[in-house]
């Protein structure tokens, strides 16, 4: 066997340029396959991470379809939901107000999130200085505020300077307990962002209602189930389920998954076409090789090589071309995936099973398309084969 492999190598390296060009089809096909799989996998991981931050496993509960009616939700409803829904991980009451934050003669228009300590677990909030709202802050309606880095720079000398100082919201003094790193304000006329306890909002504004309650689930598949439960619990308390509505990203998630899958499938089909073309290339070259080496095949037969041994010889050659095409393909696929990472920021994820499967697939293509030429070689009549040239 070792000798057969050795001879196969000998025969391949005898014409290096031809061998290289023959491999190229496999290299391109396997390369495309490997890069699509690993970029796709990396993309999925990346997307899930982003969606998780944005709230893939999050349910928003509010009053009226599309929030068109005045909210009737109360803080106590959050506690009720927390106690009645076992699949709920975090239950967070929130109200949003655009207000002016004042210090000295400065006054900045800010989006104020009135919420509780659980928000830090479900949103992408990075507190680099001080701390976020605590359970006690909420329990005792403390007049504390977490501001963003821009506010800290505008109103104070910077984040470290801001901690422990006071600012004014609607005439009340709030102590700065934390500064959020580089937060972006979403969907708001306000330029800045700050957080206060939702209980402090209730007492300061004299409001008994909140805008929304969000629930998270540990299992994204339970989104719809938990949504229905929340409506049912609220419906029992208020006597009607019609008053409330929920929203979650399950649909968006499945659409995004679908687009990613479609994209992968298109490129995979291209890869498979390339591989089949590569395989036909191998078959073509092997047929040329068989007719070029007719006399050698005749000699092998005269020396007593069986059909199986001749078949093995040619299948090995095709298989070796496949293996090296596969290795080249995996290398170029990995390189391409990293080049893609450099431009797109999508970190590829390489799974060993994909790499091993592509290598095996390359060998399979080589052997499969080498089969017909090898068969032709072993079926040559020895006397005829010897006579050629």
């Amino acid at each position: 066997m070792l000798e057969h492999i050795n001879m196969a190598f000998n025969n391949i390296t005898n014409r290096p340029m031809r061998a290289f060009l023959t491999m190229l089809g496999i290299v391109i096909g396997i390369g495309a396959m490997v890069s699509v799989f690993s970029i796709g996998q990396g993309g999925t991981v990346e997307m899930n991470k982003k969606l998780q931050k944005f709230g893939v496993n999050r349910i928003w509960v509010y009053t009226g379809k599309y929030r068109k009616t005045e909210s009737v939700l109360k803080l106590s409803d959050a506690t009720l939901l927390e106690n009645s829904i076992s699949d709920a991980q975090y239950v967070t009451p929130s109200t949003y107000k655009n207000v002016y934050l004042e210090k000295g003669n400065q006054s900045l228009y800010t989006q104020l999130s009135c919420t509780d300590d659980s928000l830090i677990h479900i949103e992408d909030i990075n507190i680099n200085w001080g701390r976020f709202l605590s359970e006690n802050d909420v329990l005792y309606s403390k007049k504390v505020v977490v501001i963003d880095e821009n506010l800290a720079n505008k109103l104070f000398l910077g984040p470290t300077d801001a901690i422990g100082q006071n600012i004014y919201i609607l005439g009340n003094s709030y102590k700065v307990i934390g500064v959020e790193h580089g937060a972006a304000v979403k969907q708001s006329a306000a330029e800045y962002k700050a957080y206060i306890p939702v209980t402090t909002y209730a007492s300061s504004w004299g409001s008994s209602t909140i805008d929304e309650i969000t629930l998270t689930t540990s299992d994204a598949k339970k989104l719809d189930e938990v949504s229905d439960e929340a409506i049912a619990v609220l419906g029992q308390k208020y006597g009607t389920t019609q008053m409330f509505d929920t929203y979650n990203l399950a649909k968006e998630l499945s659409i995004a998954d679908g687009i990613l899958g479609l994209f992968s499938n298109i490129i995979l089909s291209v890869a498979i076409v390339a591989l089949v073309a590569g395989g036909i290339g191998i078959m073509n070259i092997m047929l040329v090789t068989v007719s070029e080496r007719r006399q050698e095949i005749g000699i092998m037969k005269a020396l007593g090589a069986s059909s199986g041994q001749i078949m093995l010889q040619f299948l090995l050659e095709a298989g070796i071309i496949g293996i090296f095409g596969g290795i080249g393909g995996i290398l170029s696929g990995v390189i391409f995936a990293y080049v893609f990472y450099f431009f797109s920021g999508v970190m590829p994820v390489f799974s060993t099973s994909v790499l091993i499967l592509s290598a095996l697939f390359a060998i399979f293509i080589g052997v499969f398309f080498g089969m017909y030429p090898a068969y032709k070689a072993c079926k040559l009549e020895p006397a005829e084969a010897l006579k050629s040239i």
């Binding site: 001879m7 020396l303 059909s307």
Partner: protein, 221 residues
């Protein structure tokens, strides 16, 4: 060893039947040294192909050691070529990308000897043909006479009973020819059955028995 009964072989060339063999009755005993002489195109190579199980006759029978070769499966015929018959051809037919030693080892590889056994026997055969110092040379790096000696060593790889040679000195000069011919004589003395094809009368005289083939028919010389 060899017995043929009314062997006939026709080729179809350009829609015309060409008779290559026209009823060959040949008997070669074990240990015999037969030369078959004849002009070009008389059917010598065709006959040797059939005797060597490289080709089948169209009509008639060929018995090798009493076995009707026509009835054998491909696999069995390959085994005969491998270990019962040794071939020597006019143009050597060495594998161009294998070294002298590897060429000699090839029939042993097909036979299934271990690398160690193959190596040992190849070294010994190289010694027999006085080419031990050329073991790692490629055929293209050897002279015609040296190539033919390697081919003879290869024919002896699996210690066959029968040596079939088709104009083995056809491509060699006087000196190399006599070296090669002497080898066949020695092999025959050692008990091998030799069938030597040639178109040269002086070469044919080295054999114990000389036959002449003309138009596909054998006459005693």
């Amino acid at each position: 060893m060899i017995e043929t009964v009314d062997l006939k072989k026709t080729y179809i060339a350009r829609n015309k039947e060409v008779y290559a063999l026209n009823g060959i009755n040949l008997q070669v005993d074990k240990g015999d040294f037969v030369s078959i002489m004849g002009p070009s195109g008389s059917g010598k190579s065709t006959l040797l192909s059939i005797l060597g199980c490289l080709d089948n006759a169209c009509q008639g029978s060929y018995y090798l050691n009493g076995i009707d070769v026509k009835r054998l499966k491909d696999r069995k015929r390959a085994q005969l070529r491998n270990s019962v018959i040794g071939f020597v051809f006019q143009s050597f037919f060495l594998m161009p990308r294998l070294s002298a030693a590897e060429n000699i080892e090839l029939p042993m590889l097909y036979y299934g000897l271990t690398p160690k056994e193959r190596h040992k026997r190849a070294q010994w055969l190289l010694e027999c043909v006085s080419l031990s110092d050329r073991a790692n040379h490629l055929p293209s790096e050897l002279s015609g006479g040296q190539c033919q000696r390697i081919a003879i060593a290869r024919a002896l790889a699996n210690d066959p009973e029968l040596i079939l040679a088709d104009e083995p000195t056809g491509n060699l000069d006087q000196e190399a020819s006599s070296v090669v011919l002497d080898m066949f004589s020695v092999l025959n003395e050692q008990g091998k059955t030799v069938v030597l094809i040639t178109h040269d009368g002086t070469i044919a005289k080295k054999a114990k028995r000389s036959l002449v083939i003309r138009n596909g028919i054998i006459n005693n010389a």
